[in-house]
C-alpha cells in the first residue's frame, strides 16, 4: 500500500503525528464491524501501519537534518579519554586506538556489535583473553558523536565479569573460531578443528558468554543467542565442541521442527543430532559400531568389504544416516560406501561360476581362513555375515563406470571422479549417492546420467542467480536453448523444466549446445562455483514495455496473453514461448545492466 492510499483509507491529511494517525485509525475502526468486513479491517490496519512507518521515517529524516546542522562534537581520542571524568557507567565505548583493528572487517562481530541493542560495545583488540584483563573495565567513558553509541549498563554481572567484560569474551571467542586460523587454511574449505588449548579456551569464553546471557534482559539475551548461533554456524565444523553447551542454555532443540525455526538454529540442530549419534556410535558396545568402523575406513583400488560386519548393520547405518543426518555421511569413505551400497545380490546371479570369480572366491576363502586363524576368538555365527565379495567388486566397478560416464557427459573427458572429488567434494558425493539410489530404484545408466546432469544444471543456475553478472547471462543463454529443446517435445515438458528443473530425457539437445554447456560447467567447476545452491530470497523485476513489445513480435502471441504468461498464468504453450523469448530478448537487449540482471534473475 502506498502512503497516498493509506491517507485515503484513514481519511486523514498527510501528517507526521503518530497519535493523529492512531486517532484516525480508532475512529475508523469504531465505525466498522470488523467481523463483517474482514477485508476492510485488513486494509485499515495496513493503512495505519504504512502511515505510522511513513511518519517514523519522515521524523527520522528530520532528526538527521537537525543533527547534521549542529556543530559536530570534537572526536574523542585515546589520550583524551583518560581525562574524561568517570561517569558511573560500568563501561562504555572507549574509542578504538588501533587503526588496524578498526579498519579490519569482521563481519560476524560487526553484525553483533552494530546491532544497536543495549550490548553496544567497542571493538577492542583483545587477544585470546589474556590481554583482556587490561580491558578498560573502569576506564572512562566517551560518548561518541554517534547518537546510538550510547554507553549501556550491562546488567547484573558478577564481579569476575567486570574484570573481563562479556564483550571481551565474545571477541575472544570470535577470534578463536574465525580469525586465529593456521596460515595454511585453504580458502573455502572447512575450517580446521580447534586445537586442544584453543578448545579449552573457547569453552571458557563460551561459559562466560552464556553466564552473561543468562543474567541479562530478554532482548539482550535474544541478541546474544542470534549472534552466537550465527558464529557457530559460520565456524562449523570448527565450532563443534561448543555446540552442546550453547544449545543447552538457549534451548535450541525445542525449536527443532518448528516452522519458525531460524536457519542458523536449524543448521545447528541437525549438526547436534549428528554429533550425538557420532559420539554414541564410537562406543564399541553400540550395535552399529562395527558398521561405522567399516564405513569410515578409507578404501582404495581393490578394497573389499570388511569381514566381520553384518550387512544388515551396514545397511541400517547407511540408511539411517542418509535419512536422519545426511551431513555426517562425509565421515564415510565414498568408495567404501559404494562397495556396500546396493541391494539384492541375487540380481547378479548369472556368471557366478565363471573362472575368474571362482578364483577370486577361492582366494577369499583362503584369506578368510587365515583371518579366522588369527582371530581365534571370532565366534562361528559370523559365518552368516559373510557375503560373497566378488559381486560387490563387480558392482562397484559398474558404479564407477556409470559415474565416470555421467561425469563425461556433464563435464567432458577432462574431468574424472577423483578430479571432481578434489574440486567439489559435495558434488562428487551427490554423484555417488544418486548412483546408489538409481541402482536401488532399478534405473538404467542413462536415467542416472540425466538425473545428475539436471542436478548440475540446477546448481549452475542457482550459482548464476547468486553471482549475477556475465555468468548469469551465460547460464540463462544456455537455459533458453535447453528450454527450446524441451519445447520441441511439447509445452508441458518445457514447463516441467521451468518448474522442476528436470529436463525430459527425450529432449534432443544438439551437440553444440552440449559442448557449450560442458565448457561452462568446467569453468564453473574450476572456480569451485558448483557448491550447494545458496538460499536466495524471492526476487522481483519489472519488465519494460520495450521488451514486452519485442516478445510479442517474436512469439506472435497477442499482448494480453503475453502479459498473463509473464504473470505465470495462461496455457503452458504461451508461458513457455514467452519465457524463451524473454530470455533471448533480454540477452539481446541493450538496456541498463542492472535492469537486465534483475529480469534474468527472475526467469
Amino acid at each position: 500500500m502506498t502512503p497516498a492510499q493509506a491517507w485515503q483509507v484513514l481519511d486523514l491529511a498527510e501528517t507526521r503525528d503518530a497519535s493523529a494517525i492512531r486517532r484516525a485509525y480508532a475512529a475508523r475502526l469504531k465505525a466498522m464491524d470488523i467481523d463483517r468486513d474482514v477485508e476492510g479491517y485488513a486494509r485499515l490496519r495496513q493503512a495505519r501501519d504504512t502511515a505510522l512507518n511513513w511518519a517514523r521515517r519522515a521524523a527520522s529524516v528530520e532528526d538527521d537534518k537537525a543533527e547534521t546542522a549542529l556543530p559536530t562534537p570534537p572526536e574523542p581520542n585515546g589520550p583524551a579519554n583518560q581525562d574524561t571524568p568517570p561517569t558511573g557507567w560500568l563501561y562504555g565505548a572507549p574509542s578504538v586506538e588501533d587503526p588496524q583493528v578498526s579498519g579490519k572487517a569482521e563481519p560476524g562481530l560487526t553484525t553483533r556489535l552494530s546491532a544497536g541493542g543495549p550490548e553496544e560495545a567497542p571493538r577492542l583488540d583483545v587477544t585470546g583473553g589474556v590481554a583482556a584483563a587490561q580491558a578498560p573495565a573502569e576506564r572512562a567513558i566517551a560518548v561518541g558523536p554517534d547518537p546510538f553509541a550510547r554507553p549501556v549498563l550491562l546488567g547484573l554481572e558478577s564481579p569476575p565479569d567486570a574484570v573481563m567484560p562479556a564483550w571481551a569474551h565474545e571477541q575472544a571467542l570470535y577470534r578463536l573460531l574465525l580469525t586465529d586460523l593456521p596460515d595454511d587454511t585453504p580458502q573455502g574449505a572447512d575450517l580446521p578443528p580447534l586445537e586442544g588449548w584453543q578448545e579449552a579456551m573457547a569453552l571458557g569464553h563460551l561459559k562466560a558468554v552464556l553466564r552473561h546471557a543468562e543474567s541479562v534482559s530478554v532482548s539482550a539475551f535474544d541478541e546474544i543467542e542470534n549472534w552466537l548461533a550465527n558464529l557457530l554456524w559460520d565456524a562449523w565444523p570448527r565450532s563443534a565442541p561448543l555446540l552442546e553447551p550453547a544449545a543447552a542454555v538457549f534451548g535450541w532443540e525445542q525449536e527443532r521442527g518448528q516452522i519458525s525455526e531460524r536457519p542458523a538454529i536449524a543448521f545447528l540442530n541437525a549438526r547436534l543430532r549428528g554429533l550425538r549419534f557420532c559420539e554414541k556410535v564410537q562406543d564399541p558396545a553400540h550395535p552399529l559400531h562395527k558398521a561405522w568402523k567399516e564405513l569410515t575406513t578409507p578404501a582404495h583400488q581393490g578394497s573389499r568389504r570388511g569381514w566381520f560386519v553384518k550387512r544388515a548393520d551396514v545397511e541400517q547405518l547407511l540408511d539411517g544416516v542418509r535419512r536422519h543426518f545426511p551431513e555426517i555421511e562425509r565421515h564415510f569413505d565414498p568408495w567404501r560406501v559404494a562397495l556396500w551400497d546396493r541391494k539384492g545380490e541375487d540380481s547378479g546371479g548369472q556368471g557366478w561360476f565363471s573362472k575368474g570369480r571362482l578364483a577370486i572366491f577361492a582366494l577369499i576363502f583362503i584369506v578368510q581362513i587365515i583371518r579366522m586363524a588369527m582371530d581365534a576368538g571370532g565366534s562361528s555365527d559370523r559365518h552368516d555375515a559373510f557375503v560373497p565379495p566378488a559381486l560387490s567388486a563387480s558392482e562397484a566397478a559398474q558404479d564407477r563406470e556409470a559415474i565416470g560416464s555421467a561425469i563425461r557427459q556433464v563435464f567432458g573427458p577432462e574431468i574424472t571422479f577423483e578430479g571432481l572429488q578434489s574440486l567439489q567434494p559435495d558434488l562428487a558425493a551427490l554423484f555417488s549417492a544418486n548412483r546408489t539410489i538409481a541402482r536401488s530404484a532399478g534405473e538404467d545408466d542413462a536415467a542416472y546420467a540425466a538425473k545428475v546432469h539436471d542436478l548440475v544444471r540446477e546448481r549452475m543456475l542457482a550459482t548464476a542467480l547468486a553471482e549475477k553478472g556475465q555468468l548469469l547471462a551465460d547460464v540463462q543463454r544456455l537455459r533458453g536453448r535447453l528450454l527450446e529443446a524441451a519445447r520441441k517435445l511439447g509445452p508441458a515438458q518445457c514447463m516441467a523444466f521451468i518448474r522442476t528443473r528436470r529436463l525430459d530425457p527425450r529432449a534432443q539437445v544438439t551437440p553444440a549446445i552440449l559442448a557449450a554447456e560442458r565448457k561452462l560447467a568446467v569453468k564453473m567447476l574450476d572456480a569451485r562455483l558448483l557448491g550447494p545452491p545458496p538460499r536466495l530470497p524471492p526476487a522481483r523485476a519489472s519488465i519494460p514495455g520495450e521488451l514486452v513489445d519485442r516478445v510479442i513480435a517474436t512469439t506472435g502471441i497477442p499482448d494480453k496473453r503475453v502479459r498473463a504468461a509473464m504473470g505465470g498464468k495462461g496455457p503452458d504453450a504461451d508461458q513457455c514461448a514467452v519465457t524463451i523469448a524473454l530470455i533471448e530478448q533480454t540477452l539481446a537487449w541493450k538496456g541498463p545492466a542492472a535492469e537486465r540482471e534483475a529480469i534474468l534473475s527472475v526467469l
Binding site: R23, Y25, D35, I259
Partner: protein, 572 residues
C-alpha cells in the same frame, strides 16, 4: 444476565458489570463461603452428591476423597477422571464449577445468569477452546464469547486509569498455564499485538518441584509409599502449596503433613526451592522472547510488565521477571481478580451497557493454521505430512487468507484438505482440526490447482473454503460445526445427566466445608484426638439433622474452634 467467568486451573471467579451513576464498574461475586475465589475442585460424596469449591478441596487427601483438581489441564482431551463410581470428562467437571458460580450469582443478585463470557489461556488451542465452550453450554450458559485471559487482564488493567499506553506486556502465570501478551491501548482501542505461551506450565509445576525436592528428606521411613498413591500425592501437593506460600513471605518455611496421626515435617529454604525450580523458571523466557520477536517490540520499549495469576506472587518468579526485563514489574492489578473483572468488562461491552464508552478489542490468533501437503525432495523422494501455513501465528483477527496448492499425482481424482493448527513443520506435531475432500478433474500432476481460503473470526471460529478454478466448484467447511455436530446430539443428554446429579444445597456450603474439614482431621490424627474430633462431628451432624438453625450454628462454632486448635498445635 451476562456474567464474566475466569475458569482457572486452581481457582475460578465470577464477576458482573454493574451500572452506576458514576459510570459503572466490574464487581466480583462472593461465593457461599463469602470468598471471591472458588477453588476449581469437584468432589463426589459416597451418596453421589457433588461438592464444588473449598469443601471439595478439603476432601482431596481423604481415603475415599473422590476429588478432582487441576482438570483444566485435561481440557480438550478424551481422558476421564473417575470420581466415586462415575467417570467425568474435564469439560463436565468444568461445567460443575461453572454451575456453582452461577448459583452464587443467582443467590447474590436474585437473577439466574443465562449468558457468559468465559476466559481461556491465550495459548489454548482450538480443541481446548471448544471444550471450554461446551463446558459453558453444559452448565446451561450461552457462551457469548471466549476471550483470552491476558487480554481480559489487560482490559481490567487499562480501564483502571484510562490513559494511553505504549505497548505493555501481560505476564500471566496461573495454576496450570502460562501466557504472555503484548498489548497496546489508545483511543479506546485495546490492541493485542502478539501472544505466546506454554499451556503446560503453572504454579502446579512449582508445587510438584517442591514436593520432589523434599520428599526423601521428609519421609525417611517411606510412610508415604505405604498409603494409597493418589492420597500420598494429594497430601504432598497440599503441603507443598502451603510451604510455597510460606516461602513467599520468609526465607524458609515448614513443609509438613500428617498421615494417620503421624506428623512428617521438614524445613525448606528458598535457595533450595530456587535450585529445584530452575528448569521451570527457564521455561518462562521462551514465550516472552517469542512474543517480543513476533510483535517486533524491544523489551526496553515496553512501558509496563503487568503481573497476573497467583503464581506470579512467588518471589523467585518475580526475581526471574525482574531479570528478564531489567526492571521491576507492575503489581497494581490483583493477580487473582483481574481476569474475571476483565471478562465482566467484556460482557458489559457486548451488552452495550451504559457507563462504558465504546471500547474495541482487537486480538490475534496465537497459533499458525494451515493444511497438510506433500513435497518432492531434492532427491526426488516424496515427503509427506508437511505443514503448509496459511494464517501465520499472531496475525490480527478476524482475518481471511488463501493459499494455492496443486495435485501431486497424474490423474489424481481428489484432494484431501486436512486442516491443522500448530508450529511444527510436520503435521504430526500439530493439532488436527478437520478435513475436507475435494474432487478434482483427472489431469497430469501439477496441472490442477485449488485455492484454499481460511477465514478466522474474532471468537476463534475457522471457516475453510476450497475452490477449484478449473471447474469453478466451491467447497466449504466450518470447523466448529464438524466437532459440534458430533457432540450436539449428546450435549443435551449430557446436560440432563449433569443436572440430574445431586448437588449439595448452596446454603449448606459452609456446614459442608466444616464437615469435610472435620473428616479430614479425623483421618489425619489417631487416638484421643481422633476420638474427640469424632465426638464433635457427631454432635454437629445431629444438630444438622435437627434443622434448628440456632443449634446448628452453636455446634458449628464449637467444632470450628476445636479444629482450629488441633491444626494450630498438632500433637506430636
Amino acid at each position: 444476565m451476562l456474567i464474566g467467568i475466569d475458569l482457572g486451573t486452581t481457582n475460578s471467579a465470577v464477576a458482573l458489570w454493574r451500572n452506576s451513576d458514576t459510570g459503572g464498574e466490574a464487581q466480583l461475586v462472593p461465593n457461599a463461603l463469602g470468598a471471591l475465589l472458588t477453588p476449581s475442585a469437584v468432589s463426589v460424596l459416597p451418596d453421589g452428591t457433588t461438592l464444588v469449591g473449598a469443601a471439595a478441596l478439603e476432601r482431596m487427601a481423604m481415603k475415599d476423597g473422590a476429588t478432582a483438581t487441576s482438570f483444566k489441564r485435561l481440557m480438550g482431551t478424551d481422558r476421564k477422571l473417575r470420581l466415586g463410581r462415575k467417570p467425568f470428562s474435564a469439560e463436565e467437571l468444568s461445567a460443575l464449577v461453572l454451575m456453582s458460580l452461577c448459583n452464587d450469582v443467582e443467590a447474590h443478585t436474585g437473577t439466574r445468569p443465562t449468558e457468559a463470557v468465559i476466559t481461556v489461556p491465550a495459548y489454548f488451542n482450538d480443541r481446548q477452546r471448544k471444550a471450554t465452550r461446551r463446558a459453558g453450554e453444559l452448565a446451561g450458559l450461552a457462551v457469548r464469547r471466549l476471550i483470552n485471559e491476558p487480554t481480559a487482564a489487560a482490559l481490567a488493567f487499562g480501564l483502571a486509569d484510562k490513559a494511553e499506553r505504549e505497548p505493555f506486556l501481560v505476564f500471566d502465570l496461573g495454576g496450570g498455564t502460562f501466557d504472555v501478551s503484548i498489548v497496546e491501548m489508545f483511543e479506546g482501542i485495546v490492541e493485542v499485538r502478539a501472544s505466546a505461551g506454554d499451556n503446560r506450565l503453572g504454579g502446579d509445576d512449582f508445587n510438584l518441584a517442591l514436593a520432589t525436592a523434599v520428599r526423601g528428606r521428609l519421609d525417611p521411613d517411606g510412610l508415604l509409599s505405604k498409603i494409597d498413591e493418589r492420597r500420598a500425592e494429594a497430601l504432598l501437593l497440599q503441603a507443598a502449596e502451603r510451604a510455597k506460600r510460606g516461602l513467599s513471605e520468609a526465607q524458609e518455611a515448614e513443609f509438613a503433613l500428617t498421615i494417620d496421626g503421624q506428623r512428617l515435617s521438614a524445613t525448606v529454604t528458598s535457595a533450595e526451592f530456587e535450585a529445584q525450580a530452575e528448569a521451570l523458571v527457564k521455561r518462562l523466557r521462551d514465550p516472552v522472547v517469542r512474543a517480543l520477536r513476533d510483535s517486533q517490540i524491544d523489551a526496553a520499549a515496553l512501558s509496563e510488565v503487568v503481573l497476573v495469576g497467583g503464581a506470579t506472587r512467588m518471589p523467585l518468579v518475580r526475581k526471574a521477571i525482574t531479570r528478564l526485563f531489567g526492571r521491576f514489574p507492575d503489581t497494581s492489578v490483583h493477580p487473582d481478580h483481574a481476569v474475571a473483572l476483565g471478562a465482566a468488562i467484556q460482557g458489559g461491552l457486548i451488552a452495550r451497557d451504559g457507563g462504558l464508552e465504546e471500547i474495541r478489542i482487537t486480538d490475534v490468533c496465537p497459533f499458525t493454521l494451515g493444511i497438510e501437503t506433500a513435497d518432492r525432495s531434492a532427491r526426488g523422494a516424496i515427503q509427506q505430512g508437511l505443514f503448509s501455513p496459511i494464517i501465520e501465528r499472531n496475525t490480527p483477527v478476524p482475518v481471511s487468507r488463501s493459499g494455492e496448492f496443486s495435485t501431486m499425482g497424474d490423474n489424481q481424482k481428489q484432494i484431501e484438505v486436512k486442516i491443522y493448527q500448530g508450529e511444527a513443520r510436520e503435521v504430526s506435531g500439530n493439532v488436527f482440526l478437520g478435513q475436507l475432500k475435494v474432487p478434482v478433474p483427472p489431469r497430469p500432476a501439477g496441472e490442477v490447482f485449488i485455492d484454499v481460503r481460511f477465514s478466522y473470526d474474532s471468537s476463534g471460529l475457522l471457516e475453510v473454503d476450497v475452490e477449484v478454478p478449473l471447474t469453478g466448484a466451491k467447497h466449504n467447511l466450518v470447523i466448529i460445526d464438524e466437532e459440534d455436530r458430533k457432540a450436539a446430539g449428546d450435549l443435551e443428554a449430557r446436560r440432563k445427566a449433569l443436572a440430574a446429579l445431586k448437588h449439595h444445597p448452596r446454603e449448606e456450603a459452609g456446614n459442608q466445608m466444616l464437615l469435610a474439614r472435620a473428616e479430614r482431621c479425623y483421618e489425619e490424627f489417631l487416638g484421643d484426638v481422633r476420638a474427640v474430633v469424632g465426638d464433635h462431628t457427631r454432635l454437629f451432624v445431629a444438630a444438622l439433622d435437627s434443622q434448628d438453625p440456632r443449634r446448628i450454628s452453636d455446634a458449628a462454632t464449637d467444632l470450628a474452634r476445636l479444629l482450629d486448635m488441633i491444626e494450630a498445635n498438632p500433637p506430636l
